[in-house]
Amino acid sequence: ARARLTASFETVNGHFKKLFKSLFSGGTAELILTDSEDPLEAGLDILARPPGKKPQTLSLLSGGEQALTAMALIFAVFLTNPAPICVLDEVDAPLDDSNVERFCDLLDEMIKTTKTRFVVITHNPITMARMHRLFGVTMAEQGVSQLVSVDLETAKQYQAA
């Protein structure tokens, strides 16, 4: 188990470094196993340095920067051991438009290299426009949810319900 964890740590770290650079268009990041001789007891530390900035504790990163860093880590795990499904509930909420585009670019890359199916819940019109298909959830009758398949125009109207 120890050897497997160390091997997968190396692979995840490799993917994480690459994904961070592509999400931030630069900068560096890495994963560090801390505190213990035994990888099974260790903690996982993240060192993230957005482009042009000094490395700082993670908590000093902004809301948007933390969301992108977390995404890079989740997707690094996928590339190492692809999950059959990934559900992202409004992860684009803290992102500005250019980071939303980068996030969608990353999703496109993920579907090229893994078989993971993605379900992305969003209010953001940019993300909506980049989905392969859209489901709308409505409450035509108050308090009762209904699922319908929708096109992009209808989806934008939901947003402005």
């Binding site: 091997a7 903690g43 990163l61 959830v137 949810s145």
Partner: protein
Amino acid sequence: MQFTKLRLLGFKSFVEPSDFVIEPGLTGVVGPNGCGKSNLVEALRWVMGESSYKAMRASGMDDVIFSGTNNRPARNNAEVSLTLDNSDRTAPAAFNDDDTIEISRRIEREAGSVYRINGREVRQRDIHILFADASSGARSPALVRQGQIGEIINAKPESRRRILEEAA
């Protein structure tokens, strides 16, 4: 194994039977505030064997059963079923004979849940084993709750390591 369909009946605000088809690639889910998008994600987590009512944002597991509106009475049970495509024969041995695997969970008010795989009643442990082998499950880091994307960053290093174990 691939996830192909989620069916809800009486689960939270999905009182009417609802089919959510999951196809390859990117499926977007949109709709106004409070319409039931996050409830859909919780239905998926629940059928995969979630045992904590807190993960359902509830104060007891019975809170997942439709509690009624001004025009409709509350229900006394709820059921969610998940259909998996197993044509690549990657399921654990006990369930690997079939092309499709249907997992269902049904809850009765004050009587708890019953799980079934292809119609046969199973224990919660069997559900956990099935999904653990498939790198998924109710606690998978691949199911990101609303507002929780920052949680991974702000978590303690020990709990972050759990994510690595998924990759192993």
